[in-house]
Subunit: 704 residues, 2 copies
């Protein structure tokens, strides 16, 4: 019911006159008019929001249907994330060149204001007051862009959406679905790659890019400012690897579990490191005129910021995980899976908010929360809650990840401020290649000095190859695109992600065979997987905890050097630090936080007897051996345990999922020690005694 | 790093001078200063958002833990929603009286502007441009409230959050978890209560409230405008019942399934009716000066709006459900539960967005989408996907519902514009009591003329009693609180919700016994429920589809009048319209959308043979009897089927979950007709032949 402008003006005039005379009816109709106008605008805006979200849902639906088709036909050259990007690209093209340009709704209005901008403004429109909130700053050169394509604007999200809504489920799921055994076994290497490696990579890429920038200035390709800190920031952003495609293929083909653990562990942790590193670089603010000279005080402040944020976020995540573990341990919530699942979800979400409220990084906190929950809380949940929580976060992760990758494809066309510079792009590709090489090979060399089970050259080449970039790099790059340099960095990051996901991701399977990396002898069909999942589910063993046994049994049968050495790995390999941590975890943390043994009443000194009794639940005495078994996957009997204490080579027998060992292990309760448990986990765990067909396992070892 | 005001002004002055002289360094530092200032404000705002969300998470966590405690001790006088409200109240008190008042951040700035308000503003602050977006209108008298308690503002949500984020999962879950059999059996009555009843209730309450308003004006209690349309709007808003507490208790105590179905069905549908009714009343805009006189044209336009929005939303929901059913039928997605669940979720969400984008009501659309999905798509999902989707929406529903109820408690103290008027409040209570009476009793009388199985007086009293208000009434009331009248309506609605949920909800159990409404002979313990769920799950029968058999078997054994009549209900009770719908659904819709029989190749005329062959999947021939069985819950054998065609009284035998009937029913394939299936569902379904202990079921009936 919009009247033409002239009538509206007349009405306003009438309004002013009527106001003066105090007649209410007229006031009502004109205010009604403006109400309608405002309402229609709000409605229109709401409708556009719905349409833009619908676009994404369409993208995701197409992606899902195509993924199904690919899985159906065992297509492996294109992973779901690459697919989502392609669809995003297509829709981006349609939106960019298909939809009408300026619709004239958003005309900028200039109103001068001294002092600083306020968060809230009240604008007086003919006597009615309207409230406006601060959205952000627009650089002067881009004002005309405000009058831009409505549709493109609507599908452009505030970058904080990624950090507040989309990344947390992805990162939490990565932590929660960790393959714990292999992760902790390679913990030292993973930490080295993640921390040292990312720092090295950042530094090298940053310096190389600074050289490239200098070159660009030399040939006159660059007219804007591009500081050294910007290059370092680019280095940090682009160091966040995300080998989703590679890991998915590894999973499907049952490639080497240690390689999987190294890559996976490195990728989740270096995401965390990259975020905090980029925050510290941004926080680098030297005093004085030249804001980009080296200032030792500011440098150490940045280092302090890094350590502070990282450890603070770590503490937040761990604390929430611990609280959830205690709550699920001391209440009978497991009788009510719905309540338990809801509580689990809320506590995990609260980690994020708590970290953000305290000024730390929410995403890093949820990572460590996920790891803690997987390590402690998971054991306290009921069987149904375990599957519910896994499924809940799995579906959230799936949707969020494909959403981000679709958005990446879309952003190539909808982002209005791209800056593509060929020299910079080529330089960036070279830099990340060199950075990855400088990260992987030297570190592997040093790690191999300490590892018993060396990281072979093939593995190193594979890791070198698997430096895909993805969601985290994108989110970090899009976070701040205010300046020319940042826009160039964002555009380059986008291209790098496209290239690595499509080309390198697509080349994973050929590369695996070229490098002769062993894969499982057969990839089980989907029905087999589903059926086996049912089997495991019924007998209470979770196949998702660790890779399925067929892989390990196949490997053990290989019989060549590295495998037979594994049995010797127990004592020598495990670094002192790890063994220290393990004994602390096994003797104190797990008994406090879960129902596992050994009971605190035996391990704590007598002065803490009361505390020990409070914290020990009756289930401990039943579960003591059960938990250890679950950690080591399948059954082990007396014979296996004595293996490390004698020269006997025995034939292990058993069938998947049998629980007969429980009784036979009772007699060993008195001998339980963390040493034994450690060997149990590290050494024995390898020799899973599943028999498929007529294969038997012959563990060979001696106590050196 | 915030400098004091004087230094900032000096800096700005310096800035202006430096700008004039063109020195970049100064510009960088002062722009850095403003950047920091803006960033700090944004950071502070983000932190406050996190803290406010954390408050809600704390509320929900407390609620969950207390719910567990209550369930543990079988406390029934306080349901989880009432509990959530109490915690919300407590936190509201703390926030209102505990936190500091104005923090001075949000100072309003007045800038005059002619013409209409724009959606986007560009404000020029010393040469830098900042973008502001329109938030909403502030009434002149409340300007000073903008400078209000920051904390209270942060925990106050935009009312659209309820309609866009919180209500859809609740309403979808209501539709998706419908107890189909009893719902469709009482469909006519449910539709009558929902549509006619809500309209009657709205009209009566509206008129009564108008009288109250007149009274208030008379005694000088009311100085603002309060129109007739406002009263009608109040009537529509407050007619949305939400007997969550009552239904939960019914469920737990296994009260009469028909009563449950009537109450539940009425509540979900009258939510939908209330939303659309309130939208139509708001859309009532007569031409001319007096905007609140009766204008026939405007009236019919409102009726048209109602019908248009309702049917449009219905179509949207049904279409999306149908599309999902077809997709899940013709792809092998059921091999991949994750993909299937994700697709299901996306399609259901898209219903909402599609409806909103087209100008209909998203919440109504998701209701019908949920019903359609439950009726068709559910049958196509794999077993794992069925449980995954149910669990996913169950947890979303749980969280959203308790969130809203917590917010209600909070809103009593955080909402800044309450208007409590004793006369209005008392009048409202009387009006809703009378409105409910005028809604239930006359309608039941008329319905009983057509029903075979009358709605007894006790049932009517119980339904009268169960008029609780909840989330929908609250959301509709809070949607628009701009004017004095609407604020009074909102405050009154809040009090009504408190009263009905706490007092009436708490009195449900005593009322059930006072009215002698039969309940199940024992409420199974949680372990029993879990165990039985496992049992059903293994053999593929979903207990959540319909109430557990113990209830029905108990009732059949009652042997008094109404029950034995049930067997006669088959032919006479089912209204002609329902039978028509049923045969259409059974013969055409279900075969098209699911794998159920009869095969389209037999039911469609030969001209559509090609189409029929395309739409018929091979599974149809296997599933033909299986689906019918699932609908009717447990097994039936030949003897039961012949029951309706003879005078034989036979002993039905069988055990829960057995599938032996499949083979015995084969011989009956040739006789399958919709009539038979109908009787099967309506009549035979009652006589579930479960035997618990030594109880046997003796169905008595004759073909009158």
């Amino acid at each position: 019911m919009q009247l033409p402008v002239r009538s509206r003006l007349l009405l306003l005039l009438l309004l002013l006159l009527l106001r003066a005379s105090g007649l209410r009816a007229g006031e009502r109709s004109s205010s009604a008019m403006e109400e309608i106008t405002t309402e229609k605008e709000a409605e229109e805006s709401h409708r556009q929001d719905s349409v833009s979200l619908l676009t994404f849902i369409l993208l995701l639906t197409l992606t899902i249907l195509t993924i199904w088709l690919f899985k159906h036909r065992r297509v492996r050259f294109l992973h779901e994330t690459g697919l989502a990007m392609i669809y995003g690209l297509i829709v981006g093209v349609i939106l960019r060149y298909g939809s009408p340009s300026s619709s004239g709704h958003d005309k900028p209005f200039s109103c001068s204001q001294e002092d600083r901008p306020f968060t809230t403004l009240l604008i007086n429109v003919s006597g009615k007051f309207f409230e406006y909130t601060l959205k952000g700053e627009i650089s002067p050169g881009k004002i005309h862009n405000v009058e831009q394509n409505d549709m493109l604007r609507k599908v452009t999200f505030d970058p904080e959406v990624f950090f507040n809504i989309l990344l947390p489920p992805i990162i939490f799921h990565a932590g929660y679905s960790l393959k714990k055994r292999h992760f902790f076994r390679n913990l030292g290497s993973i930490l080295a790659y993640a921390f040292l490696g990312t720092a090295v990579s950042c530094f090298i890429i940053g310096n190389l890019m600074y050289g490239v920038v200098k070159l660009m200035k030399l040939v006159g390709q660059l007219s804007h400012k591009f500081y050294y800190t910007d290059c370092l920031l680019f280095g940090a952003v682009i160091s966040a690897t995300d080998p989703v495609t590679v890991l998915a293929i590894f999973n499907e083909l049952h490639a080497d579990v240690d390689l999987y653990a190294l890559l996976f562990g490195e990728s989740v942790l270096n995401d965390a490191v990259a975020i905090v590193l980029s925050s510290s670089i941004v926080a680098y603010q030297p005093t004085g005129e030249n804001t980009h000279a080296f200032d030792a005080a500011a440098f150490f402040k940045s280092v302090g910021v890094f350590l502070g944020i990282f450890s603070g976020s770590f503490m937040m995540g761990a604390v929430t995980g611990v609280v959830t573990a205690l709550v699920t341990k001391f209440t009978k919530l497991h009788c009510f899976p719905l309540l338990e699942t809801a509580l689990f979800f809320l506590m995990s979400w609260s980690t994020f908010l708590l970290a953000e409220a305290c000024g730390f990084t929410g995403v890093v906190a949820v990572l460590f929360c996920g790891i803690t929950q997987a390590h402690y809380t998971y054991n306290n949940l009921s069987v149904e809650s375990r599957s519910r929580t896994k499924q809940l976060f799995e579906v959230l992760h799936f949707l969020a990840e494909n959403f981000i990758f679709s958005y990446m494809g879309l952003a190539l066309f909808t982002f209005q401020k791209h800056v593509f510079s060929p020299i910079f792009i080529i330089g960036a590709f070279i830099a990340i290649f060199l950075g990855r090489a400088a990260h992987i090979y030297p570190l592997s060399f040093f790690l191999n000095l300490g590892r018993r089970h060396k990281i072979s050259w093939n593995f190193q080449h594979m890791m070198m190859f698997s430096g895909l970039r993805g969601a985290m790099a994108f989110a970090l790059a899009i976070r701040d695109t205010a300046t020319y340099s940042h826009q160039m960095m964002f555009s380059t990051t986008l291209l790098i992600v496209f290239f690595t996901v499509w080309i390198i991701g697509g080349g994973t399977t050929p590369m695996l065979s070229w490098l002769n990396i062993r894969v499982g002898d057969h990839a089980p069909s989907v029905e087999e997987i589903n059926e086996s999942r049912w089997l495991y589910f019924r007998v209470g063993v979770d196949p998702d905890q660790d890779p399925p046994p067929s892989n390990d049994s196949f490997q053990v049968l290989q019989g060549d050097g590295p495998d037979s050495e594994r049995g010797n790995r127990t004592k020598q390999e495990s670094a002192w630090l790890f063994r220290l941590w393990y004994s602390f975890d096994h003797n104190y943390l797990k008994p406090i936080l879960t129902h596992s043994g050994p009971p605190l009443t035996t391990t704590l000194p007598s002065c803490c007897g009361l505390l020990a009794r409070c914290l020990t639940t009756p289930q401990v005495y039943d579960n003591q051996e059960q938990l250890r078994e679950e950690d080591s996957d399948f059954i082990l009997n007396d014979g296996d345990l004595t293996l490390t204490y004698g020269d006997m080579t025995i034939t292990a027998n058993g069938s998947s999922g049998s629980r007969t060992a429980t009784t036979s292990l009772d007699g060993r309760k008195t001998k339980s020690s963390s040493e034994e448990a450690l060997e149990h986990e590290l050494g024995m765990g390898d020799h899973e005694v599943t028999s498929r067909g007529t294969r038997l396992v012959f563990p060979l070892e001696d106590n050196a």
